[in-house]
């Protein structure tokens, strides 16, 4: 397919994927929560409540976009987009399958992190712009939390870049081909702390996306809805879609960096179109398994305390990830043939 058409097609696909994913992750979340809590969850709208997200979307869209008194009109309206748009942009470089990627950017990893940081800015501006004290507290929490968690996350990422020698996400996945024990999480020969590194990355991506048990920014029993307190209708809806898109990105990165991306656990890769589907299948399976874990965690644990969260980051995660960085560097240097 000629290049411009391919990219346009992909943009459409990515936007549809992000939108539908957000909608149906809400459904999954509610259904999952229901079953964890011995309830049924949504069941009235459509079979198994499958049309519930659409009903919710229509409801949100028909609500008035009310601007609270004293709010900054521009910041208030722009903030949800600043969460949503970068999240969609990040999808452009994620390899769903070996050839199923919009653009194989050489600095794909860097690009995702650059866009992920904009997310915090959106939340901060939204809470500042809505002129609500609860929102401002949430915004301040959000920023310090994200700063604290991006450090161990980036250190772990640097370790992975060191291991694979590339920032191209597809190359990182290709480096893990073969049996499942070639996935980075099992490569103890590269670094003894590899499973720990995965755990650090996963925990950090939970904190980055403000998910329980680190959902300080929207702690509903403390700050009502935190950043989203004043947001009506689709303003709230777009924020939410952005949040879910960010969860997908976080989990996708974990899958790509540690769990072999689109590689199947056995060295069997059919060629051609079947290969695309095969890769897509494995990528999405791993992705949704991780997302399910995220939902599972949310409905199991209470919320952590804010200073405990920062303590965890500065006193535990950062030292361990730094140690891992040094250990990996040494191991690569001493056993370069591995």
């Amino acid at each position: 397919m000629p290049e411009p058409f391919r990219v346009i097609l992909f943009i459409v696909f990515v936007m549809a994927f992000a939108g539908l994913n957000a909608a149906y992750l809400v459904w999954c979340e509610r259904k999952g929560a229901g079953h964890i809590q011995r309830r049924i969850g949504p069941k009235e709208v459509g079979p198994f409540g499958l049309l519930q997200p659409i009903a919710d979307g229509i409801k949100l869209m028909t609500k008035q976009l009310f601007l609270p008194k004293g709010a900054d009109p521009i910041l208030f309206m722009v903030a949800p987009l600043m969460v949503m748009v970068p999240a969609i942009m990040s999808f452009m470089v994620i390899p769903f399958s070996e050839t199923f990627v919009a653009r194989e950017v050489n600095i794909g990893l860097l690009m995702i992190f650059a866009f992920a940081s904009v997310n915090v800015l959106g939340l901060l501006l939204g809470s500042w712009g809505s002129a609500n004290k609860y929102a401002v507290i949430a915004g301040a929490r959000c920023v310090s939390q994200n700063i604290a968690y991006e450090i161990p996350m980036l250190i772990t990422t640097i370790t992975m870049v060191m291991v694979t020698n590339t920032m191209n996400l597809n190359e990182i996945v290709r480096a893990q081909s073969g049996w499942f024990f070639h996935w980075h999480i099992f490569r103890l020969d590269i670094s003894l702390l590899m499973p720990v590194a995965f755990l650090i990355f996963f925990v950090c991506s939970l904190a980055e996306t403000n998910r329980a048990p680190f959902d300080m920014a929207e702690a509903e029993s403390e700050l009502i809805a935190g950043t989203y307190t004043e947001y009506p209708g689709m303003g709230f809806g777009v924020f939410f879609m952005g949040e879910y898109a960010n969860i997908v990105i976080g989990c996708a990165l974990s899958v790509i960096l540690f769990l072999g991306g689109w590689q199947s656990p056995i060295p069997f890769n059919p060629a051609g179109f079947l290969g695309v589907i095969w890769g897509l299948f494995w990528f999405l399976t791993k992705l949704y398994a991780l997302i399910f874990t995220v939902i599972w965690i949310r409905w199991t644990y209470p919320r952590t305390q804010f200073y405990e969260l920062l303590n965890l980051s500065w006193k535990v995660l950062i030292p361990i990830s730094l140690f891992n960085l040094i250990l990996t560097a040494l191991q690569i240097k001493i056993f370069p043939w591995l």
Partner: protein
């Protein structure tokens, strides 16, 4: 941290209105917080949003007409409030209660206490951000509500006690149902213990958070699990036994630490003790009448001043009656435990972080209609 905050008077503070509509206050309570960032400089509970003048109503109605009001003060342990009022009037008018009726009162009150603690358990963990235990607790509580419904006729705002007895006798289905429920809860409590109490996040959020010293609890007149969590061994059931409580063998859980965890543990242990009381009461349940042989048609206590306290789920609930010998009270004073328990919040929360203060507030187990009466 506390001292530092108060010295620095130039720090910019802001006022945060927590409530009257806020998820953490569990009702129409407003707390005016002066905040320095996320630290609380000063907290002042503002009461009265749902004041319904129950005490005044007691003066305008006949003694019996006030009975339904009792269940509407603390809707979570309504039977204790029934008990307090009925016992005070019985003391004033010198009404004898048949033994079987006293046993039935104890059984139903203790069941109600367990249901109240279960709901508190769920709502408290919800305050801490864990949603799931709430629904598990509601599942258990539902069984109690079914049992109590079968005997009292209502599920929440009970009006089961009458002067001189209770209005309905229990049947075999209730007895087997209660025994089955106790068996079930004995299996569930260890599960809550393993899943919630031993959770590292929960421990970190409760241990050494929101300390209430023995002295502070005494000064504010705190009672119930709040006082017992601060090491004050006081339970009306044990220390001023009323009804037939002196006939049962049960312990009063007391924790010395005074932090939110201690108050949490007191309530969790109390459920087991209540189950012990119910079991013994069911074993010993005497046959006989549930109301005096000669029906009480008109209650007219002698002129005088009477007081009776009972141990409700949230602490000591006292009813003071001043009677002028007529068929309604001259003055009715209700001493509700949560009112005193909440009053210490201002002092206890000073210098705390907002989420910690909300954990403290949750551990006080507030029921707002009972504060405002």
């Amino acid at each position: 941290m506390n001292g530092l905050l108060q010295q620095d008077v130039n720090q910019e503070t802001f006022v945060l209105n927590l409530g009257p509509q806020h998820p953490a206050t569990h009702g129409v309570l407003r707390v005016k917080l002066v905040m320095d960032g996320e630290y609380i400089v000063e907290a002042e509970p503002v009461l009265g949003y749902i004041h319904r003048m129950h005490e005044k109503m007691g003066e305008n109605r006949t003694w019996a007409q006030f009975l339904p009001n009792c269940g509407r003060m603390d809707y979570l342990s309504a039977l204790s409030y029934n008990h307090g009022y009925v016992a005070a009037v019985e003391r004033a008018a010198g009404i004898e209660v048949p033994e079987r009726a006293e046993y039935l009162r104890v059984i139903t009150v203790e069941l109600n206490r367990i249901s109240s603690h279960l709901l508190w358990f769920g709502a408290f963990v919800l305050d801490l951000g864990g949603f799931t235990p709430l629904l598990y607790a509601f599942d258990d509580r539902e069984q109690i509500l079914d049992l109590l419904e079968s005997v009292t006729g209502s599920r929440l705002t009970y009006c089961y006690f009458r002067f001189g007895g209770v209005y309905n006798d229990i049947d075999d289905a209730f007895i087997t149902g209660t025994r089955a429920f106790i068996k079930r809860l004995r299996k569930r409590l260890p599960m809550y213990d393993a899943l919630v109490t031993k959770n590292i996040i929960l421990i970190k959020r409760l241990k050494d958070i929101g300390p209430i010293s023995k002295d502070m609890a005494r000064r504010y007149g705190a009672t119930g699990p709040v006082a017992r969590g601060s090491g004050i061994n006081f339970d009306v059931r044990k220390h001023e036994p009323y009804s037939v409580y002196s006939e049962f063998d049960f312990d009063i859980p007391v924790y010395e630490e005074g932090d939110s965890m201690a108050r949490y543990m007191v309530r969790m242990d109390e459920m087991e003790q209540s189950m012990r009381i119910i079991e013994q009461a069911l074993d010993k349940l005497p046959e006989g009448e549930i109301q005096p042989k000669k029906a009480i048609k008109l209650v007219k206590p002698e002129k005088g001043d009477y007081y009776h306290a009972v141990e409700a789920a949230r602490g000591s609930f006292g009813v003071r009656i001043v009677s002028d010998g007529s068929n309604s009270a001259y003055r009715l004073k209700l001493r509700s435990p949560t009112y005193s328990n909440l009053s210490l919040f201002g002092e206890a929360s000073r210098g705390m972080l907002l989420p910690d203060a909300l954990a403290l507030m949750g551990s006080l187990d507030l029921v707002i209609p009972e504060i405002d009466r």
